[in-house]
Symmetry: C2
DNA sequence: GTCTATAACGAGATAGAC
DNA sequence: GTCTATCTCGTTATAGAC
């Protein structure tokens, strides 16, 4: 973790970058080893060297995605104090994803959940747990500070925030219309105040 | 359309029933001709007689689903006058789907949108158009009657209703927890009043 | 309308050379 | 770490008999 790792992304990391984007666009069942290998410029066999099975590749995809998401949440925490502004920044993450014409990786995998290997299922659930817990904390703190007034329990409110944003991405992508996510965000914020 | 069609579902109709359920659970890319044929007790070749291509099967799936949805909306319209009660009944449709541990057919296909043939894409968009238009009409009428007070435009509010319910299904299915959809419904109703 | 048989292809995965 | 070659299986789809 010093200076010397000068953005020389190794093959495995590059493969994850490509696979991540492809899965966010087409879904896990819509992406093959051949797709990733071709774009990376290596053979399927070489890709199997880095990820022995598709389940392994998929699990690595989710854990990396979750780690990055956690980092983004930590960054929000240390940069912003106001609960509504935190929620707004949180929605901004989703907005950036949909602007790239992608779906949330774990939202996509949630749709395909019943076809996923167990290791991937667990990792997907964990992603949503982390989001839910973080949002609930933000809402609780905001409630105490008086900057936010959730209608029901903070837990339910946190869940509805996630649901609304994930659903908005799903529908926004159909017509490549990010404004639908913005409308969802505005309504969430209005309703929490 | 008389009395004589005594629920003798023909093979094509039975195939659609099976395929519909399988796609709602596994996704379109997670279902094969073999899956449907096996459950129906015929061969893949016989299924191809009824639906020449998978795209044809998929399109038939969506149009039938949409027709049934329209009928459900019409039934709500003739049974209920109150706008909030209509929205509640609308959410009830989604609740029934998630109780069967299924995803909305078109919500599922929205996730897989980029891998679908054009005919299916158009049919999926049409489904959401119909829902959006109906909801917007309900909200407008409710606004005039004073039974509903949407924050922004009725169009945006209608879109957020759909997004929230679709997203809640997506997440609720992960843990087979329909209460998440109930929380979403309650919050939507609270926020519109 | 359903069958057997098969074509044609793509999938995930492995063996072994370099 | 990447390659060629191959395996095995599942996929959509078609031909032609019954």
């Amino acid at each position: 973790m010093r200076v010397e790792d000068g953005a020389v992304a190794d093959t495995a990391e590059k493969a994850l970058d490509i696979a991540e984007r492809l899965v966010q666009v087409r879904g896990f069942n819509g992406v093959s080893y051949a797709d990733v290998a071709a774009e990376l410029g290596i053979t399927k066999a070489a890709l199997h060297y880095h990820f022995a099975s598709k389940a392994e590749l998929g699990t690595a995809l989710i854990t990396r995605y979750t780690t990055r998401f956690e980092a983004a949440l930590a960054e929000i925490d240390q940069r912003i104090n106001d609960a509504p502004a935190k929620i707004s920044a949180y929605a901004g993450i989703y907005l950036n994803v949909v602007r790239q014409q992608r779906m949330c990786l774990c939202g996509m995998l949630a749709a395909e959940y019943q076809t996923l290997p167990t290791s991937m299922r667990d990792a997907v659930v964990r992603f949503f747990d982390i989001n839910e817990t973080w949002l609930e904390g933000v809402l609780k703190a905001g409630e105490q500070a008086g900057t936010v007034r959730p209608r029901g329990s903070t837990r339910d409110a946190a869940r509805v925030v996630i649901s609304t944003l994930e659903g908005a991405m799903l529908v926004a992508r159909l017509r490549d219309d990010p404004t639908r996510l913005e409308a969802a965000k505005d309504q969430l914020l209005a309703e929490l105040s």
